[in-house]
Amino acid sequence: MPFLRADFRLVFQFALATLIALGSAPHAWAQSTDVEAAADPASASGPAESDAQEPDPVAGSADVSERTRVAVLILATGELDPAMAEGLSEVLIGALAARGGLTIVGQEEFQAQLGQGDERTLACVSSMACLGRVGVQLDVVEVIAGTLAQREERWVFNLNRVDVREGEIVGRVFRETAGDLGAVADALSAAIPELYAPPEPPTPVVPPAPAAPPFGTLVLSTPVSGADVVIDDALVGHTANGGLRHELQPGEARVRVSAPGYHIWLRTVRVQAGGEVHIAVALDDAIEESAHPWVFVGGALTAVSLGIGIGLGVLSQETLLISDTQRMNGEVLRADLVAFYETRRNEAIAADVFFAIAGAAAISTGVALFFPERRRASGAVAIVPTPGGVLVRGSF
């Protein structure tokens, strides 16, 4: 399937490029994931004109002779094809490149630095510490990372702009868009200025009326560490130190907590803007019952022993027909006849031994059926598509 996947990716990228060329998306489309944007604003007049409406602290303050290295990564979540996220990453890279002054490190290098697959990358995107560590590894100043998900007919993406040196989020975008991928690309391009919007300066004299925070907070508490927390089909992190705290858009959200050895916990929660929802997640042990290994060993032993026993039993029943004349004329010696039947008797004894073994094995197999092996489920088997193939995970 890697060939089909590659073909699909090319078609998708071609479609995105066409959409970008026809729409208002940046034209700095590049096949490479590591793009050095032109310093000359004329080379990116479209976006420059478009973004000129917005304050651009990076463009305004950056020294063009010292390019800022930025790592960019958008990951698909849920059932979404990773190629879509990769395409959008390229759109994002193009849009950022159009801003100028940036050396952009793409998703593949990002993952190469991680040396792990999509799943762990997705977890890293949710972790400030991980993003900071990767940023250092990639020798970038900023990391712009986010996820793309599709919920019913709507696209949902979020982007976080992380200052690696300060270890804090300096920009954040969350969009929910209807329409096709072109609409997503447009929304992504349009969100860049917001990503670079300066933080609201504090008003020391008269604090402004507190604006309604754009996010609510979901606080999950569970004694199980390392559990996957998926909100609206997007992996948002793993529980640690008794739980997980996550900000999310107000409204209903489907929360799914899963961990190997436990039943999946599912709940729909409603989060209000600025509010906190505390949920105690009790993960029930998932006990798998499987046949005791002896069932299979004993069954096989029963079958093999029975087969051999039957074979030897049939052989042992062979008889030698001799006539009285042969016997009295000395054509058949008694010693030969005795030897023949001794052999048959030995075969019969061997057959009985194998029958006994088969019987004992059958009995023990039957007993073993009453004592299935119980163990904590180590996780469901899943087939996860990865670039260039699939990953099968779970316990077997």
Binding site: G309, L312, G313, S316, Q317, T319, D324, R327, M328, N329, G330, V332, L333, R334, A335, L337, V338, A339, Y341, R344, R345, E347, A348, I349, A351, D352, F355, A356, G359, A360, A362, I363, G366, V367, L369, F370
Partner: protein, 401 residues
């Protein structure tokens, strides 16, 4: 738990009725030809055959250890033949299989041995065997119905070859002419045997006596004579009258223990006379042999002899080959003599019973005068009557006319 119990029950039934191999009964009951014990398999011996039967397989035994053949008769070749019994009315007990017949091996006792021959009690019981005439052994040997007492029986014997109308025996048999006191002759066909060789061996109730072969003219292949008191034997199957008991010096003879002789005929001397029928008179004395008081036979003076048994009479009596006339030579127990009276000394007889016979050399030897019907070379050999030509041989008759 219920399943476990069922499984155990199933396993036990499988073990109980599992594969088994029944050895065919013919291995125990059947007649298998052999030439050596190895042909018979482990624990088996190869019983010596005879003119009626090839060598055949039977369980192995030790002739000197009766415990190795507790329910049978151990033969000289180390094969244990099954014993059988014969009821007073002559009905034998069953022998294993259809190929073995209960043959009497003791005229005094109702004892028999299972042997692969055609059984009979009278000649009418014998089916014709092709062109070979058949006689029941009692008729073939001219055995009387009773000899010593009415308790002696000669039934449940076996069919043997008979001479044809011209008095000729079938090929392979030895013929021996017998005459009565009036010169009526009869031919007896004796199976041949060989001592210490690979056979042929004697069939049941007969024994191989080398000295008689000399008399018949085939000293290297003597005939099988009925095993009667006083004759050498190899094992119990050879004796028709008496048991085959050790008599010292490694020899065995058809005889009785002293106690049995006392019960049957008064004492050991009562066993002496039957052998005289075949010219083999013996002196029976009760001696301890191997801790058992046994009537030990020794060849009487002037009777046929050979190295199988000793001659009676001390150091001056030896078993030597002598010539009778120009054709017949035989081993006899001899004493050198000069007169007939000298020969009668110490015998309880007189000059009518013994004579001093000159030999071709310078010495003369004592000889017993013969009874009527016995073979002779001249009139002086006969106790009474004359020595007459009766055809193929000369015999003592009342009158040659």
């Amino acid at each position: 738990m219920r399943l476990v119990l069922r499984g155990c029950a199933c396993l036990l039934s499988l073990l109980a009725f599992g594969c088994t191999v029944e050895f065919p009964s013919v291995l125990d009951d059947g007649f298998f030809v052999c030439s050596a014990p190895e042909d018979c398999g482990p624990g088996q011996g190869c019983a010596e055959g005879n003119v009626y039967s090839a060598d055949f397989c039977r369980p192995a035994c030790d002739l000197d250890d009766p415990s190795t053949c507790p329910d049978g008769v151990c033969t000289i070749s180390g094969a244990c033949l099954d014993s059988c019994t014969i009821d007073a009315d002559g009905t034998p007990s069953d022998c294993p299989g259809d190929e073995f017949t209960c043959v009497r091996i003791d005229a005094f006792r109702d004892e028999g041995v299972c042997y692969p021959v055609t059984g009979c009690s009278r000649t009418a019981d014998c089916p014709p065997d092709g062109m070979v005439p058949q006689l029941c052994l009692n008729d073939a040997l001219g055995l009387p119905a009773t000899t010593v007492s009415a308790a002696i029986r000669f039934d449940n014997l076996y069919c043997s070859a008979a001479p044809d109308d011209e008095g000729r025996c079938p090929t392979g048999y030895l013929s021996f002419g017998i005459s009565d006191a009036d010169g009526r002759t009869q031919t007896a066909c004796f199976p041949p045997c060989m001592l210490g060789g690979d056979g042929p061996y004697c069939p049941p109730t007969t024994t191989c006596f080398r000295g008689f072969g000399e008399l018949v003219g085939v000293p290297s292949t003597p005939p099988c004579l009925p095993g009667i008191w006083g004759l050498p034997c190899g094992d119990d199957t050879h004796c028709l009258i008496g048991r085959c008991l050790p008599v010292g010096r490694g020899a065995r003879a058809c005889t009785e223990t002293c106690a049995e002789a006392e019960e049957q005929v008064g004492d050991c001397s009562g066993l002496e006379q039957i052998g005289a029928v075949f010219g083999v008179a013996s002196r029976m004395t009760c001696e301890a042999v191997g801790g058992v008081d046994t009537c030990v036979p020794r060849y009487d003076l002037l009777t046929l002899c050979d190295s199988q048994l000793e001659c009676a009479g001390g150091n001056d009596v030896n078993c030597v080959e002598v010539a009778f006339g120009t054709e017949t030579r035989a081993h006899v127990c001899v004493r050198l003599c000069t007169t007939d009276a000298e020969c009668a000394e110490g015998t309880g007889g007189d000059e009518n019973d013994y004579r001093c016979v000159p030999t071709t050399g310078s010495a003369s030897i004592c000889s017993r005068r013969r009874r009527l019907g016995a073979r002779c070379t001249e009139d002086l050999d006969c106790r009474e009557g004359q020595c007459c030509d009766v055809g193929d041989f000369r015999a003592c008759l009342r009158s040659c006319s």
